[in-house]
């Protein structure tokens, strides 16, 4: 039927790729004043090669001509870019809507008012726990208070329906009801995303990712609340029964991608690694050339084999799960997801060589030299 949620025929068509992404993630800067232990992009220090204002605007022009309706802007902390509002206004005035994620530390009263006055801008404030104790263990001391303050500013400014964005972990999965209530308190919408073993998350994933029984609880919680946004994050859970909202498809290089702060184009926000870098927007064909012609993206649009998952009755529901989660845990890309709800991925986890995340912009911790005796 037309105008319905995508069925499998459409899903197959999307898996073969579109001439333009449906949406893409654009990390504006590697600079960040927090050092979250699960940061997908290992952000901290600004990269001197980051796109200039003019280059960023040229990318917006390309996205507009490809009719990309919106971009998910992140970082790093986007508000640390001095030209942030200039780029934001440029994008929305070219019909490229912006959904941007912020840690809230720089979102003061004046910026909240400025954002509330703009059309086509969505704000996602990141918070990874309903309590300071749970959140700050992941995002750093004081980050809970800063995010709460930012949400207060947004609500006071009349910004309706901004998002409270939560990465689900072993420690906050029991707080989902509280997080939903907290969002409601500010007139915000709850958005949950999946923890990936990417960036600094490669080192923290084993202790942070939800247990198998927690994933089952999460599936039921989400199935009962189709209004909770997930960015199509949890399609591996659809193997538990009725599919969750969304495409239930890995869109990497097919309908989504990532542009990083230096203009490198990766298959998705969770695979910042050379093996998944398709090209750079500064190249002769620009972003369009990378999207349409890169060897990597063409190969991702080829039909895939289910590999070890082929014989599993749930394969059609989960399609083997998340490519990035497999890659950074050292699992074969055509086998089960490390968080496969049937437990098929766990066996291979312990003895694998895991690829090191690339483009590490973490703030270097000064090494304290001990005095020689």
């Amino acid at each position: 039927m037309p105008a319905r949620a995508p069925g499998s025929a459409l899903r197959d068509e999307l898996a073969r790729g579109l001439d333009a992404p449906i949406c893409l993630t654009w990390e504006l800067t590697y600079a960040c004043n927090l050092a979250c232990i699960h940061c997908l992009s290992s952000s901290g220090r600004r990269d001197p090669a980051e796109l200039s204002t003019a280059e960023a605007m040229a990318l917006v022009d390309e996205l507009a001509s490809m009719q990309v309706f919106y971009v998910n802007v992140g970082g790093g902390e986007p508000l640390l870019r001095p030209d942030f509002f200039e780029l934001l206004e440029y994008a929305v005035s070219h019909q490229v809507g912006v959904k941007f994620s912020t840690n809230g530390t720089r979102l003061d009263r004046a910026k909240a008012a400025r954002l509330a006055a703009m059309d086509y801008v969505d704000v996602q404030v990141s918070l990874d726990g309903a309590t300071a104790e749970v959140n700050d263990a992941v995002r750093g001391q004081g980050s809970y208070r800063a995010a709460r303050r930012a949400m207060e500013h947004l609500a006071d400014a009349g910004f309706e329906g901004f998002k409270l964005s939560v990465v689900v972990t072993r420690h906050n999965v029991s707080q989902l009801d509280q997080l939903e209530a907290l969002a409601g308190q500010y007139g915000a919408q709850l958005r949950l995303t999946r923890l990936r073993p990417s960036g600094r998350g490669a080192a923290s994933w084993a202790e942070l990712h939800p247990s198998r029984s927690q994933q089952h609880d999460l599936y039921r919680w989400l199935r009962d609340r189709p209004w909770v946004l997930t960015g199509d994050s949890f399609f591996h859970l659809s193997a538990l029964g009725e599919p969750l909202e969304g495409l239930n498809l890995c869109g990497a290089g097919r309908v989504v991608c990532l542009v990083d702060p230096v203009g490198d184009v990766y298959a998705c926000p969770f695979v910042i690694h050379e093996q998944f870098r398709a090209g750079n927007v500064r190249g002769p064909g620009g972003f369009t050339g990378v999207w349409r012609s890169s060897a990597l993206f063409r190969s991702l649009r080829e039909p895939t084999s289910g590999g070890a998952c082929t014989s599993c009755g749930s394969y059609d529901a989960c399609r083997g799960g998340c490519m990035a989660a497999k890659f950074f845990t050292g699992l074969p890309l055509d086998g089960p997801d490390p968080e496969c709800v049937h437990g098929h991925g766990e066996a291979g986890l312990s003895d694998r060589d895991r690829p090191a995340p690339a483009a590490d912009h973490s703030v270097r911790v000064p090494v304290r030299l001990s005095a020689r005796a």
Binding site: M1, P2, A3, R4, A5, P6, L10, E13, L18, A20, I22, C23, Q67, F69, Y70, Q95, G97, D119, Y120, D122, P226, L229, T230, G231, D232, E245, G246, L247, G251, V255, V256
Partner: protein
């Protein structure tokens, strides 16, 4: 986030009146039909047939959605009528 779901049950919408694509909705043609994006409510919807896209684009030329539907072959009309009703109910169409 692609693919928000539209309520699958055809809602009660008066297609005897004029309808048109909501001014805040943009269509992007695709081989399967089109992507429709509403800049106001941020809904993204897949229009899964080029004929439906043509029908939606034609709405503004008719005094009613039913009049536009008259151009659709009778066996398909009920399906497209339901599709228009869902689009209207989700805010993608605007009462003209």
């Amino acid at each position: 986030m692609p693919g928000q779901r539209v309520d699958p049950a055809a809602p009660e919408v008066d297609l005897g009146r004029p309808w048109r694509l909501h001014p805040q909705v943009a269509l992007r043609d695709e081989p399967f039909g089109a992507l429709a994006y509403h800049y106001g409510n941020r809904r993204l919807i897949f229009l899964r047939s080029p004929d439906l896209v043509r029908l939606v684009r034609s709405l503004e030329r008719f005094d009613s959605a039913d009049a536009a539907l008259a151009a659709v072959s009778p066996p398909q009309r009920a399906a497209y009528r339901a599709a228009l009703a869902r689009l209207a109910a989700s805010g993608m169409l605007d009462a003209g």
